[in-house]
Amino acid sequence: MKKRRLIPVLLLKNGWLVQSKGFQFYQNLGNPVTSAKRLSEWASDELIYLDISRDEVYDLRRDDLGHENRRSFLEIIQDVSKVTFMPMTVGGRIRTLADIERRLSLGADKISINTAALLNQNFITEAAREFGSQSVVVSVDFKKIGDKFVVMSEGGTKETDYSPLEWAKIAQSAGAGEILLNSIDRDGARTGYEIDVIAEVSENVKIPVIACGGAGEWAHFAEILEKTKADAVAAANIFQYTDQSVYQAKKYLYERGYNVRPPDLLTV
């Protein structure tokens, strides 16, 4: 039986690695590469690296350090792929097939698209045809409005007419290889995942679903594996607070008998 994956997410904003809370509060953590290297050393199953910048300025504002202050996302991705040894999905600000091609050629194994897919479903199809379904992840940000869950675009700022399940099904038919399902309300809230939505979507699509948004303790990962059919569980902030975090999270799940890879360290 296929192992279920544990996937750390790194968020890049204007050249900084950041924590995100509620899609609106950001805290600079540090440079874009060191964390990726650490996550790789802790034998993460995969890595999701998202650029959530709102403009083209990438600047660490420091030129006296041991690592380069890169001025573009593509340079950063190149640096990251040099120090990581796990499959990497790269997303954020992707609008064209050329954007995808550039990211894949710099070391990304998959790309993730969000707004561009909502603007034009054919983009999913074209991307899948050009690069293979397996490399196209459609990222779905959703939010509770009234008593309904609604898919949002443009970094959580714009409402669409879709529910998460409707949109996930459309993305699947259009050729997406995976769905990254992220709750805006639970982003950085530590209250656990939006279980019902993740359960509903993962039961009703055939492609793998990655659950994201809300992890505050290792037990929240277990809850997803327990109560939903999600293939993978992803989280960002929680992996930044303690050393060997991914190792500890895996150890927690593995010792409790969940179907995950055993905790490990990567010595390169």
Partner: protein, 406 residues
Amino acid sequence: MNYCKRCVYPQIAVNLEINNDGICSSCGVFEKFKKLTPEFWAQRKKKFEELIKEISKNNTSDYDCVIPVSGGKDSYYQTHMMVSVYGLKPLLVTYHGNNYLPEGDYNRDRMRHVFNADHLVFGPSVEVLKKLNRLCFRKMGDMNWHAHCGIMTYPIQVAVKFNIPLVIWGETSWDISGMYEPEDFVEFSARARHEHSLRGFEWHDMLNDEKEKLSEKDLLWTKYPTDDEILKVGVRGLYIGNFFRWDPNKHSKMVQEKYGWKPREVPFERTYRKFSNLDDRYENGAHDLLKFIKFGYGRASDHASKDIRDGYMTREEGIEKVRKHDHVVSSDLNYWLDYVGMSEEEFWRVADTFRDPRVWRIENGAWVKDNVWGTSSAYGPVYLSEEQSKEFNKRQKNLGLKNNGK
């Protein structure tokens, strides 16, 4: 340069983010901390006790924890908490970088007596230290890299060697810039050490320099243990500031009254505080001057920003402190130049190459920057060659600064 409207921090401060209302992330996080109720702190205390228990359950050592100490007021506070409040037996560990002020020596050597604790004081040879001072000054504009590295490495080596899983640090790392919030319960990490404290450099970057011959054997104390070694012992570093309200002014008073800790007798030149950084004669002096040279702000800005947040002074008073202290070239610079055998001319020639174009501009052969009080002023002559000045201006242009760094 943009400044926070509430404290006196400039946008350039490490990891700082200034929000749309003009308030910096440090003040934002502080506000969150300030609103915390006594019940909240009572819960944190409980959590601290649970964590200590959890981490200590695999302790095979005779010591209960490692406390990295310099002998400063924070070290006394940390040790007070672990010894006097919790009744634990710590192993105190000091990295001695040969920069102690006399008061700092006194405070450090007093610790083991007033806390009835075993104390391990470690330091490399003065030759190695001088080489590292010069090399790191040239490499990254910071002669104190050895100290950041020693403080952040040697105690963890000791924890691994002695099989002591619990390490107790002081203030939450980097809450100064609002990287983390109380609820994040951040712990000591090799990433923060490497990236922030060591500026992205490690021991191997110190080898093969033409001028300063250092061998791997000279630098054994700079090597951080592997994940494997750390996991075997279960070493975790907790910041006590995450669990108990952190107030340096209060702590300073308490450790003086209770343990006879001594503040600085002579005032510092670059800050008004008398109770910070006594373990390091340069931390408030030459090393901090370099922060001003690079980024246009110094210890007085750090201290004033904290004291404004803590309610010990108004922003206006803070600005006066900055105006008085931030730019001062302190006398310990000469002390350092003698120590490492460097001329002042060479110091400025090297230091000027680290000026940040986001902060400084060259006007009529002088270094000019925007001040927190709203005007710009010149802060001394430019020591760069014509070519270097051109290069600096080019870098500034390439930054594409919107309205002058804002």
